[in-house]
């Protein structure tokens, strides 16, 4: 099957004026032609199929939004090829818009002063959605979330969570092939996050919509994505299933133990016994990050037990968050 998004070696450069400091510098800047080229996206290649949910991750300023803006057709790549639904998105932006939906977590496309249902009706006409399709979609929404109380509420009176939920529903309304969700759970409470994840998951299942999700919340990633793409400084670092990710830096697990006495002193001793692992201590636990390719958890535990009495222990799988943090901080080996 042909991919819905096909990107080959795209690069996006921005021309930025080198600014000087101070008042005198600012005045000089008025006549300056001293530009530098910033590569926001550098040689990225990927291909995304129908119905996938792809987590698009990277630290702040990594170039995620720029890539998304190229996929939606707002920006034109400096070089490289990009095809969305088989077309050049920046050449056919208005037509392409018919097949995509967008949610930017910090902006709303809804009509601020009007009740939600008016926004929906308006989108229905703008996207030329047929009555049956619209009714079908509303029924589907009804079955997934309790939208009845939201429909007659002006958007400006909604809480952030309600507004985000409404924005997501609005983005799916015209049954697009692809939906771009740019930090949809930003600033939301735990229960709203869970609600929104369930909703996205259900809509993806029901409509087989491709979802590109950028987020900084690893909970979103764990709940929704099978595949993740990580970029940093415009370069692609990782593009694979999430299950491979945990083995990406070797297989790590955290062993936590509690012993009698001063934990920080004890942890220094342990650090000498196991120089190959990272040891740290907080008020309750001493943690060892164990690389299981070097030795098994059981060996380490037995080694620890020989020298001291362990009063309690815990074993933690390394979380996606830990791995991603490691990638952001250290890059790829």
């Amino acid at each position: 099957m042909a991919p819905v998004i096909d990107i080959k070696n795209i690069t996006k450069e921005f021309k930025v004026l080198n600014r000087r400091e101070g008042l005198a510098g600012s005045i000089k800047d008025l006549f300056s032609r001293d530009y530098k080229i910033v590569k926001a996206v550098d040689n990225i290649t990927m291909s995304i199929g129908q119905g996938e949910i792809v987590g698009y991750l990277g630290p702040n300023g990594a170039g995620k939004s720029t890539t998304i803006k190229m996929m939606t057709g707002v920006l034109e790549p400096t070089s490289g090829e990009i095809l969305v639904n088989g077309k050049l998105p920046y050449r056919n932006r208005s037509k392409n818009a018919q097949n995509i939906g967008v949610v930017f977590g910090q902006r709303s496309q809804l009509w601020w002063a009007l009740p939600l249902v008016e926004s929906f009706k308006l989108l229905k006409d703008i996207y030329q959605i047929s009555d049956e399709q619209y009714d079908g979609m509303m029924k589907l929404y009804q079955s997934l979330v309790d939208i009845e109380p939201l429909l007659h509420k002006p958007v400006r009176q909604m809480s952030l969570g309600q507004r985000t939920l409404s924005d997501i529903l609005a983005a799916f309304l015209h049954d697009p092939k692809i939906v771009f969700l740019d930090e949809p759970t930003i600033g939301l409470d735990v229960s709203m996050k869970a609600k929104i994840r369930t909703l996205i998951h259900a809509l993806n299942k029901e409509k087989n919509t491709t979802v590109i999700l950028t987020t900084h919340d690893m909970g979103d990633v764990d709940a929704l994505c099978r595949r993740i793409v990580i970029i940093d400084k415009g370069r692609m670092l990782y593009d694979n299933d999430i299950s491979h990710l945990k083995g990406f830096f070797g297989s790590y697990r955290t062993l936590k133990i509690r012993v009698d006495g001063d934990l920080s002193k004890e942890s220094a001793v342990i650090a000498k016994e196991f120089p190959e692992f990272k040891v740290s201590a907080d008020d309750e636990w001493i943690s060892l990050l164990v690389d299981e390719e070097k030795s098994t958890i059981m060996d380490v535990f037995t080694g620890l037990q020989k020298k001291r009495r362990i009063s309690d222990m815990q074993l933690e799988e390394i979380s996606t968050e830990d791995v991603i943090r490691k990638i952001y901080e250290e890059g790829v080996k």
Partner: protein, 267 residues
């Protein structure tokens, strides 16, 4: 079916305006207040000139012209430059760019509801008051039909100029100065603040070759002439039509060239 999406946008604009009752009241009151200022200003001008008629216009003529120009301004001003500038600065323009419609078309129809509201809140009341107070100084005949046609074209020319100026924000990322400059130029050269008859001969001749006079001067001249010579009307409307086409082509082209320039701020 195709028309429906535009009408829907107009409808939403009307609904949105109606949500803010107080703002409509203030708009009405502000309009009135400005009219009072104009009255006293021009009264003083005529008093100091010591003549009944200046440049072929009596105080009465001038006042009717300016009152109608003001209400026409309130009706036609679209704040497109602000909207575009803010969208470009904050980056929220992305959402509008991603509607399945040309940006320019979308922006126009998004605003169009306000035309309807402004027509009923500012233009129509002023027009009726002027008709009653002046006891028939505004002729009611075929000129009304020509006037409507002229206003439609004026709206389009005005929007195209606004859109052109708004596009400049792509390069400057700042709007304030540009918008103020635009407003001064348009209001002065279109005859919205001072009737063009008051301009010195040479400047008046130049103004007739610019698009601005097609925005306010053209429809008002048509409206206030009760016994129109069909040839004059044809010339005025024809000139407007030419400017509609020219400004449309230029603003569209400029937008097309400028769009790749966009960086989209934030997030």
């Amino acid at each position: 079916m195709k028309l429906k999406k535009y009408i829907s946008l107009t409808r939403a604009g009307i609904l949105e305006s109606l949500q803010f009752r107080l703002s409509m009241l203030v708009l009405c009151a502000g309009n009135l207040l400005y009219l009072i200022v104009i009255y006293f200003l021009w009264k003083a001008i005529y008093a100091s000139s010591g003549q009944d008629s200046v440049n072929g216009m009596t105080f009465h003529d001038t006042l009717i012209y300016l009152v109608l120009a003001t209400s026409l301004f309130n009706f036609m001003e679209m704040y497109t430059v602000w909207q575009m500038g803010r969208g470009i600065q904050s980056g929220s323009i992305v959402l509008e760019l991603l509607k399945p419609m040309q940006y320019k078309t979308y922006m126009f129809w998004s605003y169009s509801g306000n035309f309807v509201v402004n027509f009923f809140t500012t233009f129509l009341p002023t027009f009726i008051v002027v008709c009653i107070v002046t006891k028939g100084a505004v002729p009611l005949g075929m000129n009304l039909l020509y006037f409507v046609i002229a206003v439609v074209m004026a709206v389009i020319i005005n929007y195209n100029i606004d859109f052109f100026v708004g596009t400049i924000c792509m390069y400057t990322e700042s709007i304030w100065g540009i918008n103020i400059m635009k407003q001064v130029i348009v209001l002065l050269l279109s005859g919205a603040t001072i009737p063009i008859a008051f301009f010195p001969e040479t400047i008046r001749r130049i103004v007739y070759y610019l698009p601005f006079q097609s925005i306010y001067n053209a429809p008002l001249t048509i409206l206030l002439n009760g016994d129109p010579d069909i040839k004059d009307v044809a010339v005025t409307l024809g000139t407007q039509l030419i400017w509609v086409v020219v400004t449309m082509v230029i603003s569209k082209l400029f937008w097309k060239i400028s769009l790749p320039q966009i960086t989209v701020n934030g997030g």
